[in-house]
Subunit: 359 residues, 4 copies
């Protein structure tokens, strides 16, 4: 970017709510040396409150904990912390239900990975490269709720890469029906999450509450804004969710029926050339490229492809005709970066770019 919004004025003060969990740790890692946001406060459970982050957090990421985080004290999530403009929420849903509105009321911009408010009609379920205009719901949200700030959510990790793929396909061919099967990494269940005795050398063909989200959320994200409210996309989805012994990276097998199917080369090109709306590009966390199309017959694979585009790129492969629908393919997305912490950060960057958050 030629001009960052913080030029000459320092970075925007931010807090991470629920900072000690697996997604909280990703927030800390990805916000380390972020050009626009500076983490000044961390919150955690009652048990951790009062301790320093470096003492109480069982850090599970390969990279080292940043030094600045090590010394920050763990604050309680409520009452609202003063002096932070942006709040990144990695809270459990039940706590998010209470805390996020309190922050939004106080004027903070809550960029949340929690599922608590995703289904609210006036809360954007946002992917910058798909539906940046859905931030228009913030106006409705403020009117409805008398908030000075707002809540913006990112979708479930499992459908993030899928929905970006569907958007690219939607623009060129229209997508009517989608059959999806996920093979999801263990990190999607947080820490301690999945017991090793359940998943070592095994597959669990079930993820609690997941399939409903997988069938509903893409319809909201792909919906159309009109008159300040949102019309859901007319798209039928059936989902099967599975847990597999993989550390990071959710795979999706997709069969899609199009309104207006093209040739296979056109499908591949529509994905590879998808850039997203202008406003979503050139942000610090923007994926480069948005979608990477693999030609090898056996890709994408989590081990080899999950860090494509620093974990923000959606990787698609095995595009081939489908005997029942039109095309089938495989989609990979990093579940704790593009699908969780990176998603919330990218959303916050969009809010800056769109002028919701100014300096």
């Amino acid at each position: 970017m030629e001009e960052t919004p913080t030029n000459g004025r320092g970075r925007i003060a931010a807090a991470v709510l629920g900072a000690t969990g697996a997604v909280g740790q990703r927030f800390i890692q990805l916000l380390d040396q972020h050009p626009w946001f500076e983490v000044v406060a961390l919150t955690g459970s009652e048990r951790a409150t009062g301790q320093k982050y470096g003492e109480t957090c069982h850090w599970v990421l390969p990279d080292q904990m940043p030094e600045w985080a090590r010394g920050l004290p763990i604050l309680p999530t409520l009452p609202v912390i003063e002096g932070v403009r942006v709040v990144f929420s990695a809270l459990p849903s039940a706590i998010a239900q209470e805390a996020e509105p309190a922050y939004a009321l106080s004027g903070a911009f809550v960029c949340s990975n929690a599922s608590a408010f995703r289904m609210e009609p006036d809360v954007p379920l946002l992917l910058p490269e798909v539906n940046p205009d859905h931030t228009g719901l913030i106006h409705l949200q403020r009117r409805n709720r008398n908030w000075k700030g707002c809540i913006v959510t990112n979708p479930n990790c499992t459908i993030t890469g899928l929905t970006i793929t569907l958007k690219a396909l939607q623009e060129s061919f229209g997508v009517q029906q989608a059959f999806i099967v996920s093979m999801q990494a263990i990190s999607g269940a947080g820490y301690p999450g999945v017991p090793s005795m359940d998943i070592l050398g095994n597959v669990i063909p079930f993820v609690q509450d997941e399939e409903g989200k997988m069938e509903w959320e893409p319809r909201k994200i792909l919906g159309v804004m009109g008159n300040g409210s949102l019309e859901f996309a007319d798209l039928e989805i059936t989902a099967h969710a599975n847990r597999v012994p993989v550390a990071e990276g959710h795979l999706i097998c997709l069969s899609a029926r199009f309104s207006n199917p093209g040739r296979i080369e056109e499908v591949s090109q529509a994905l590879a050339n998808y850039r997203g709306p202008d406003v979503s590009r050139d942000l610090p966390s923007a994926p480069k490229p948005v979608i990477c199309v693999k030609d090898e017959p056996d890709r994408p694979q989590p081990r080899l492809d999950v860090m494509n585009g620093k974990g923000m790129t959606t990787v698609v492969g095995r595009i081939r005709p489908d005997p029942l629908f039109d095309y089938k393919m495989v989609i990979l997305s990093h579940n704790t970066i593009r699908g969780a912490a990176g998603a919330s950060i990218y959303n916050a960057e969009l809010l800056v770019k769109q002028g919701f958050i100014n300096l």
Copy 2:
């Protein structure tokens, strides 16, 4: 059985072709102390020929190699071994292409796990609990090919449990369309098979040549015999094949569209009550039960359920409505027992029961 076909006369002499590989070892293990068949000859690759089985075979199964097998010499697969009535084939497809007809010509009953002849119109693709009448093709086969013996094949390991499930659903509701995604164990690729660097902590969304078989074979197996030939079932399938880091047990996610859908309890009962044709029951390897329906929300799982019915039972769970089709569910089948060596042995038992093989 009230009367076994070997009463008073000893067991039927059998050979295992390709006995040193992973499926060959399963044959040895499952035929240990078989009431009807006695393994008297083993064949292997040129490298192994002349050595004793116990010296040359890198045994990869948890149970001990049976003592009788240890001392048997490895013979070349061709020329045809004299004096064996039943031949169990675990040969690679290219070698099966040449060797199996030679044995059939010589009068042997070849029960093959190889894919070489599965697509031939006069070769049964046989699952006793589904289509035992397809052995009627043996007459056609003998006329066409001037064979005294015959070749009978069992299907690809991945679709075995699926096809048994589809048969039970077919009888009650008619199945028109099926969307299937497999998560396949590494043992399905034989030994050495999948390199550990490719699959440890990973999923490979591709299995060579698998999806075509998955879309084609069930249509043959569920086909109808008439006038001595076979009419394929009118069933549309789309398949996605994946390899997962599981030792034994192929999982299938299935969404099915029925001609005449019933209530969910009826679906569950149709599966749990399925017994297969009379002739398939009470054979030594017959699964008990044919299908086990699990009620827990997170089953079947390979680690916990794969040995159900000594590895011969198909385990089905997570039966639930499908927003696009009618019902979705998860199917588990042991890939090297019900899906490979156990399948060929069960087929041989059917041939005895039907009188093709007599004493």
Copy 3:
């Protein structure tokens, strides 16, 4: 056995304390159809009390839960359950500390897998094939504590196979020093136990409180009874404990220094021929053989060898000279069968055989 102690009189009533955990489940599984003991009561945590076992227990073993267990109600561990002669304890150590003496006081024979009383000078740390005479401590224990029953413990799962091996070596060569490194299965940590994010594709070179037990317990077990008390073996051990992504089976690398070293063939024979004291043989859970010596260069391996002797046999391989000490070798033992539930049951059988428990 020519005559079982229950002939004509039914089986001995037994309880399993802490029946819902991973070791508790192994007790249920191994006591299914046990010839001498009949489980008539199960206890669990406060949360589970009052529910039926089949409803509240998250069963993690591949075999089905026995039908008789399914319907038993979960009782509180205290107050003491009346009418049980033998108590199998899979309690956490802190609860065992309080509950086990209460049962012993009431006259029950407590065969415990807990570590709470292992270090008491008047409590046997018992392996029937090693030190069955240590039950002589029961007399001391009863005098000291005014108990009508007693507590008998089995050692930590990690050193069980090691100590059996050391005993066989001790008898022939004398063992002075042992360097041991364990690679322990995840099931050793119970359920939920080790989080999958910690161990998938990883090794944790640490097991809480384990190395101290590994260095201390063998010295007690190999100790000599004299005048009713126990003199510890004069044996120096240094231990390194590691957790590896294996489901069942603890491996030990051992380097041993002998007082009187023999030739390598003698070492191998001393192990292969070890039978244990007469009283330990022919019991229902006695390992057959006690030690299995493998000749292949790459064995024992958990996947292939852990179920040797129904999980009760110690498997030793790679016996070879050691440049610093005398010999090195690898030892495998099933941690939840020989190393936990099977150990307590075998101990109870010994108490019957020795006449402590009569009918």
Copy 4:
């Protein structure tokens, strides 16, 4: 460095021999944009010769294959390729035996990861932070063999981190005896390497030909140069080698007996403060730090610590007293970076720094 040896003159032309294997790929990856060396030629097996690297190489690393490598043709390893000054060898030992001398004869500096020449008395077994003066053997080597170039080898991946640790301990305390047990990653066996059926959920307590190297190589590396030849270190080692289901990173459990033991804090400091000889520092691949000492009770772990110092740092933890020897500890080293390709590159950098390779 104040002045790199290539200032104003471009980089030194280098070849990678055996470029398509797992270690060959690491060479390509680590030499991408190397400041001193430019890869201009790649060699491979007969099967691959004539194809482009991007077409024939089954790339198994998570990062993308560099673009420049993609288009390079695969040449035969022999005859010697003209015009390369530095040759990085990832050849199988048998081929290295023939090819490496041919390159050395022609004047090339062969920095080899192969084991073929490690045991030769006139070939340095080199770790720059341990024994950079061993390059003095190059003079002897050239005299003995009439070579214009030379062969310099790096040690077996398993003992690299161990030997660096022993060196730091040696300097302060003297090391007399070491008991070592390795838990080695699958990538150490190359590709396809270990079959997944052998290692998934398993440990193999055996690595072909490994223990001999583990007991011998550290004695050469820690030896003392005098009068142009090498006196081996007086150090006794016993080794147990194991393969574990880990992708990258070899762990070692070490018990060490010192001549002159210090307090535990001194041991920790001796490791943490070890810098290596001056000449080994400030090279492009020099580890920063040489040794990282972890204080947490359960570290180092492969998943969390293997990329410390870009995979070049040795990570040591769990330093504690040893009941038999003096201290025990755990050592982690990246087997395909510090233990293989990175080692050869670091050695080549040392040769430049020492003036063996000039411009």
